[in-house]
């Protein structure tokens, strides 16, 4: 059974077709990169998969079950977590508090007036584990909004991890980062992928990151699926080169 199956997915905004009849299948444990020029429909595809938008046509299967009509917050409960192109965190809270909110919601405690001792201990373990996995333990008491940009992105990924997802959607995790930060976040994603048997779908512009990490690459152009294959296949694909470099190349 595939981790994610997208079938003939289409999204129209008025006369603009942002995503046009896209089908793709991601296997469990796969690390898939989605690339394409600006406006190719990558983030719209993420918004459809995570439930932020309802598709105009087509269906989405997650772990074999049709989730096309399932609202975003319930997809989280099914094991799907995402990060955003623009960092979405709770800026005035500490790293620890950010992760704690996520962990409590994920554990189903969001309406609870209190937690008993064993629930608290279990939660604490989960938070510490997440902090360690993201290498944020040393910054747990820092206010997230005051961290460096790269650390804020890492904190956001850690928040997604605290949901214990099976499928993690990362929207341009290295956006706006310098070389060193990009390297560190690439290492982090690789480590998460290896450690957690996690299925990851990654939107990324930095080709070094894409070719370093991805098992398979999906290329979108103007809302359509242009190509799909291993990094080697994509690197050799003439249509992809045209889309990226223009006709003359």
């Amino acid at each position: 059974m595939s981790a994610l199956e997208v079938e003939h997915l289409t999204k129209r905004f008025g006369s603009l077709v942002a995503v046009h009849d896209i089908s793709l299948t991601v296997e469990p444990g796969e690390l898939r990169a989605v690339i394409g020029p600006n406006g190719a429909g990558k983030t719209t595809l993420f918004n459809l998969v995570s439930g932020f938008f309802a598709p105009s046509a087509g269906s989405i299967l997650f772990d074999g079950a049709d989730i096309t009509g399932v609202p975003a917050h319930r997809r989280v409960g099914l094991g799907m977590a995402r990060t955003f192109q623009i960092t979405e965190i709770f800026p005035e809270l500490t790293v620890f508090e950010n992760i704690r909110i996520v962990a409590e919601v994920a554990a189903g405690y969001r309406l609870r007036p209190w937690l008993n001792r064993s629930e608290k201990a279990e939660l604490r373990g989960r938070i510490d584990e997440t902090l360690a996995l993201a290498a944020l333990s040393g910054k747990a008491d820092r206010v997230v909004g005051e961290l460096a940009h790269g650390d804020q992105r890492v904190a956001e990924i850690a928040m997604a991890l605290a949901l214990k997802p099976n499928l993690l959607l990362l929207d341009e995790p290295t956006a706006g980062m310098g070389d060193q930060e990009t390297y560190e976040i690439t290492q982090l994603i690789r480590r998460l992928h290896k450690a957690g048997k996690l299925t990851i779908i990654l939107i990324e512009h930095d080709m070094r990151v894409v070719f370093h990490l991805a098992d398979r690459i999906t290329v979108l152009d103007q809302g359509r699926l242009l190509a799909e294959g291993t990094p080697q296949e994509i690197a050799a694909n003439a249509a992809v080169q045209t889309a990226y470099l223009g006709q003359a190349a």
């Binding site: 995570s50 409960g77 979405e88 709770f90 809270l93 508090e97 969001r110 309406l111 007036p113």
Partner: protein
């Protein structure tokens, strides 16, 4: 225990000690016990508004509606149904709180200025009902003919009506219960979802928090606290009038919260102390007391945008 926790405990102890001994130190500064009771009740109102404003990030400009409904329901209960102070408080809290919870369900999809506008409109509806329904509410003259009753413990009674100090301690007890409950809720997993919604609603939604439901619960809780404060206010004055429902009072509560520091737990109480005490002193000198309060607000917004307590503690959330 960390240094932070020790400091926190010391501050808490100082606040409660100051409140506990208020009837004995206030006279040295020209205060009097009844003023202390008023400050506590209005402070509880400001804290209730701030429960929503400062911790969920939702601005209600009509919270006086639940305050006034509580006051009327408490007064009417004492006047027509039962001569019992606790029963009056219970009735006031339930009527105001349930009304707030029901109307709040219609509000939770609105945000920002639209939310504030609709809350004002709801508040004004209750204001005009109280103003017009002479036979029940006494209209513009207000509701008279009731008084707080002694607390009856079987073996002995506590006279709340004639002894201001007993009444102050009764109000302080009620205040402590309500504020303790508020702090408890804010420290719970549910309270942390409120703060998450304030910090980043989009993020909160994507974590799997049904934001509308949580805002509604926070709104309803805040209405119950507000109605409880309103019921106490009816007892403070032995009187209820339509101005307790009016949006200008809602505005006063918001001003108290903003002045004191809306991201802090105790800020609104400090705001209420400054507001009520200034009003009391200045209004004995000039009828234009509001212009002085206005000037103070301008200064605070310009120089202490986070309020009094917000300045002392640039960052702390719960």
């Amino acid at each position: 225990m960390t240094a932070d926790q020790r400091k926190h405990l010391a501050v808490l102890a100082a606040i409660w000690a100051a409140l506990l001994f208020a009837p004995y130190w206030m006279p040295f500064f020209g205060g009097y016990t009844a003023l202390g009771s008023r400050v506590l009740v209005l402070g509880l109102g400001a804290m209730s508004v701030n429960f929503l404003l400062g911790f969920t990030g939702v601005l209600s400009f009509g919270h006086a509606a639940w305050f006034g409904l509580g006051a009327y329901a408490c007064g009417l209960t004492l006047k027509h149904i039962a001569l019992s102070t606790p029963l009056g408080l219970l009735a006031g809290t339930l009527v105001g709180g349930v009304a707030g919870a029901l109307l709040g369900a219609l509000l939770v999809r609105r945000r920002g200025i639209y939310f504030a506008m609709v809350t004002i409109a709801f508040g004004q509806v209750f204001y005009y009902i109280a103003f017009q329904w002479l036979s029940l509410t006494g209209g513009d003259d207000g509701l008279r003919g009731f008084a707080r009753q002694p607390l009856d413990f079987g073996l002995f009674q506590i006279d709340l009506l004639h002894n201001d100090i007993y009444f102050y301690y009764f109000v302080l007890f009620c205040f402590a219960v309500a504020v303790g409950l508020m702090a408890f809720i804010l420290g719970s997993p549910f309270g942390r979802t409120m703060i998450a919604i304030r910090e980043n609603e989009r993020r909160a939604r994507f974590l799997g928090i049904p934001v509308e439901l949580h805002i509604w619960i926070a709104f309803a809780l805040s209405c119950f606290f507000m109605a409880f404060a309103g019921s106490l206010y009816a007892l403070v004055n032995n009187f209820a009038d339509p101005r307790m429902l009016h949006y200008s009072l809602s505005g006063d509560f918001v001003i108290m919260a903003v002045m004191g520091g809306m991201r802090t737990f105790w800020g609104p109480l400090l705001g209420a102390i400054v507001f009520v005490v200034l009003q009391d002193y200045i209004s004995s000198v000039t009828v234009n007391w509001m212009s002085f309060i206005g000037l103070l607000i301008v200064l605070i917004v310009l120089f202490f945008p986070r309020g009094f307590l917000g300045m002392l503690r640039p960052r702390r959330t719960a």
